[in-house]
């Protein structure tokens, strides 16, 4: 425990990153569980899970010698234990305290990563305050269970009396069966505990030990009840058991515990120890009282009268308080059911763990890079095979291509993660932000299971955070304001995700005050974003909120409204080849829609040719292809055109005109019908070259300003094809569409306005 060899140290150095990442996950789930508990207070399963999380953090931190984490988590654990045992109710104030503690834990774990960072006195003081509040909350439960919800945290009591005179604790430790096999020796451990003070009485509970013929000699069946006179704190006492805590039933009762405390102890102990021993060991009655009871029982048996249960005898002759005895008697029946339930949930949990393996992200990335090269090389080989016109070679190559495609799909699937994890992080943000702003907000997550590429998930979190805060700060009103406007007092914020034609759509909906176009315009004039007096089209007004240096908040809060952000949000999203749109009905709320590609690496493309140039559409966005004569109508100078498709007018983009390609237009052309969001448009191309596995390469600097392009790809022949960005191309197709601007009229009627950025 104390001396570490070099081998131990190097092991710890190697294992620490794994511990930190695991601890961070545990802390994350702690937070989620706490937030879930706010909606379902008293849910025992959640409470148990909560306790397990804290316990796991503490246990593994102990192995790594992270004393600060162990000491602090211990206090959290104590409080959680009280919650779990139902001695304390989870009040909002308590929940806030626990969330703050969780933040503290997160900080401590982060410090563990950058080892040897000295703590500032402020940080130490902050932690001490939290510990005091935790102790106050936990101590409160001891004294008065009924009044637990009278804000124990707002009124922190001074920490318990400093160590002075030795006090006698009661420790009950039932070692788990794996104790010996895990290399632990209860004998050595008890000797260590003895070092903390003195053990005036120690009882080895051997009731769990089976006779020799049923014994597995390497399983531990020992349990101990001991009194411990020591100045040590609860943390120090429990710390002595930290190496066996995992499967050890440990209960530490403070000096001066009441009979009720002992009754609870009896409840909590594993079943089958004999009632008498428990009571003696607990100190609830003396050995003399027990023997008196035993004698009465045996006399009764000898006299031939029906033996009364021991508990009853004890109650009548020794004056043991009824609660203690009842607790001991009840637990025999309850114990078995509880164990069965625990075993079942443990089995379920371990089943879940077994289904995952941890892989470093950069290893996965290098596989995907290689895969990209493989796809390109494979396409080149297939092309060469076709040129040889050897049937068997072409067939073999086709087979290889199929396999490559399967590998590609499988590998990309590996990087897909559900977005729910990112979403649920916002629960805390919403909770704290709403509380800070004095607003009542219900937060809902829809479609959390929707999967997208890990790198996209990571990079979308920050923009989302900003949008959520913005909705809380600017969008949703206070309860009074809402009621005055005839809305329910509680605001609603929804974060949703779904797949839609090859992209993922993330929506942030609120039922707040919406965006006031007049205010936006006034601010834009003030900031010089728009020339004073000029009223741009409605759709462009909403778009102004994404301009740099724009803020509509009447007062700047520390949450949002500094005027930085929305433009950064837009830039971040565009960097992911995504788009962001705002829809808003004044007074009804607003909706922000983010559209992102599923992956940044490889897509299924649809290859087309215009003259000598090759272009690629993402295959998911291609709806159909129609034959067309180029002479149907002549495009305007920007390449706009329309065709009739089943009685509907379809805007068509002519790439030849758009990109000024100097080749003759063939007589017959094809129109590829593309779906972008809710709209469709056509793109006129010369030849269709079919499906193509497209490895996306970024566009060079020179081409980044090009409209309608999102990237490039290398074809098997070594040619470069440009990947079309269907959204911006759609914008282009719709932008100069002949006829009245539908969206503008609609907006004037107070209907939804669509803005594309």
């Amino acid at each position: 425990m104390s001396q570490m060899t070099d081998a131990d140290n190097s092991f710890i150095q190697e294992a620490l990153p794994a511990f930190i990442s695991e601890a961070q996950e545990q802390i994350e789930s702690l937070e989620q569980l706490l937030l879930q508990l706010e909606d379902a207070p008293g849910d025992t399963e959640l409470l148990n899970a909560l306790f397990r999380c804290a316990h796991t953090v503490k246990g593994s931190a102990g192995i790594f010698g992270l004393d600060r984490v162990v000491a602090f988590t211990h206090h959290v654990e104590t409080l959680l234990d009280k919650l779990r045992e139902g001695q304390l109710e989870l009040t909002p104030a308590l929940s806030t305290l626990l969330l703050q503690c969780n933040d503290q834990l997160r900080t401590l774990i982060a410090q563990a990563r950058d080892a040897d960072t000295a703590e500032t006195p402020e940080a130490v003081a902050e932690r001490a305050t939290l510990v005091e509040r935790l102790q106050a909350a936990a101590g409160h439960a001891d004294k008065d269970e009924q009044a637990a919800d009278t804000a124990p945290v707002t009124d922190p009591a001074p920490s318990p009396a400093p160590a002075g005179s030795a006090r006698c604790w009661h420790v009950s430790a039932a070692f788990g069966t794996e104790t010996f096999r895990n290399g632990m020796d209860p004998l050595a451990l008890l000797n260590y505990v003895r070092g903390l003070g003195s053990i005036p009485n120690l009882v080895c509970d051997i009731a769990g030990v089976p006779p020799l013929d049923q014994l597995d000699p390497e399983s531990c069946h020992l349990a101990f009840e001991l009194g411990l006179e020591t100045d040590a704190s609860r943390a120090e006492i429990e710390g002595a058991f930290s190496f066996v805590r995992e499967d050890c039933g440990l209960h530490v009762l403070e000096p001066g515990a009441t009979p009720e405390d002992y009754a609870r102890l009896i409840e909590a102990m594993p079943d089958n120890p004999r009632l008498g021993d428990i009571l003696v060991a607990c100190g609830a009655i003396t050995r003399a009282q027990l023997q008196q009871g035993l004698r009465t029982q045996s006399e009764a048996a000898a006299a031939g009268t029906a033996a009364r249960p021991l508990g009853e005898i004890l109650q009548s002759t020794a004056g043991v308080s009824a609660t203690v005895v009842n607790a001991a008697l009840n637990k025999q029946t309850k114990g078995k059911q509880r164990d069965a339930a625990n075993a079942a949930s443990a089995a379920a949990a371990s089943g879940d763990d077994g289904r995952f393996i941890r892989v470093q992200a950069d290893r996965l990335d290098s596989v995907i890079n290689l895969l990209g090269e493989l796809v390109i090389a494979g396409a080149g080989a297939a092309l060469l095979a076709r040129q040889t016109r050897q049937g068997t070679l072409i067939e073999a190559n086709a087979q290889i291509s199929r396999l490559i495609e399967e590998i590609r799909n499988g590998t990309l699937q590996l990087r897909m993660v559900p977005i729910g994890e990112t979403f649920s992080r916002f629960r805390r943000v919403v909770r704290d932000t709403a509380a800070e702003l004095g607003k009542d907000v219900a937060f809902e997550i829809v479609g959390g299971e929707t999967e997208l590429d890990k790198s996209v998930v990571e990079r979308i979190a920050d923009p989302l955070m900003h949008l959520v805060r913005n909705a809380l700060d600017h969008g949703l009103e206070t309860a009074d304001e809402r009621l005055a406007n005839g809305k329910p007092g509680q605001g609603k914020l929804t974060l949703s995700a779904c797949h839609e034609s090859g992209s993922i759509v993330i929506r942030i909906l609120d039922d707040g005050r919406g965006i006031h176009r007049e205010k936006v315009l006034a601010r834009a004039w003030e900031r010089g974003l728009v020339e004073h007096g000029v009223t741009p089209p409605d759709e462009d007004i909403l778009k102004l909120i994404f301009e740099a240096g724009f803020s509509t908040a009447e007062k700047v809060t520390n949450l949002s409204g500094r005027g930085v952000g929305m433009d950064v949000v837009r830039r971040n999203i565009e960097a992911l080849r995504g788009t962001v749109m705002v829809y808003s009905d004044p007074g009804e709320g607003s909706r922000i829609e983010i559209r992102l590609p599923l992956t940044l690496a490889i897509i299924d493309g649809f290859l087309v040719g215009v003259g000598a140039s090759k272009f690629i559409f993402p295959l998911e966005s291609v709806v159909e292809v129609i034959e067309s004569r180029s002479a149907i109508s002549t495009p305007d100078t920007h390449g706009h055109n329309v065709v009739e498709l089943r009685g509907r007018v379809l805007p068509v983009v002519n790439l030849r005109t758009l990109y000024d390609l100097e080749t003759e237009e063939p007589e017959r052309v094809s129109v590829v019908v593309i779906k972008s969001g809710a709209h469709s448009y056509g793109v006129m191309v010369d030849v269709l070259l079919g499906q193509h596995q497209t490895v996306i390469k970024p566009l060079g600097r020179m081409f980044q300003s090009l409209r309608g392009m999102s990237g490039s790809s290398i074809l098997g022949s070594g040619e470069v094809a440009l990947i079309l960005d269907v959204n911006s191309l759609g914008e282009f197709a719709a932008g100069k569409q002949p006829g009245p601007a539908k969206s503008r009229d609609a907006a004037n009627d107070g209907h939804k306005t669509l803005i594309r950025s």
Binding site: F180, R194, I206, P217, E218, L222
Partner: protein, 130 residues
């Protein structure tokens, strides 16, 4: 700490100690997690033979002077032996326990138990109840 599978312990040979009931069971120098796997089948064999050979004997003698190392697993094995004997209506007689064994029992709160196993007069040991 070494981990032994049950299969290997079951196949270990039975010690000659167990061959005769006349010979009391002698505790080894090391009574720890490292030896309980070997000792368990030997003690079981001794237990069976003792019961078969002298059915009416009420005591089972154990030589405990040689014990030099002890841990909780070893003491648990001894406890378990005593419980098995008690089931068969016999009491354990621990002869001349070494200082190490006494110390181990004391550390685990088993001093009274050890006293009971050393006493000549058969008492109802506090740890054993039918």
């Amino acid at each position: 700490m070494a981990r032994r599978s049950k299969a290997s312990t079951a196949s270990s040979p039975v010690s000659p100690v167990a061959l005769s009931v006349a010979i009391p069971l002698a505790l080894p120098a090391e009574l720890t997690i490292y030896t309980v796997g070997e000792l368990h089948p030997q003690w079981l064999a001794w237990l069976g033979q003792a019961a078969a050979a002298v059915p009416n004997e009420s005591r089972a003698e154990i030589q405990a002077a040689a014990v030099e190392q002890v841990d909780a697993a070893g003491l648990q094995l001894l406890l378990s032996l005593q419980l098995a004997l008690a089931e068969r209506g016999r009491s354990l007689q621990i002869q001349a326990p070494s200082a190490v064994l006494r110390g181990g029992c004391e550390a685990l709160g088993l001093s009274e138990w050890l006293q009971a196993q050393m006493a000549h007069a058969v008492q109802m040991p506090e740890g054993a109840q039918a």
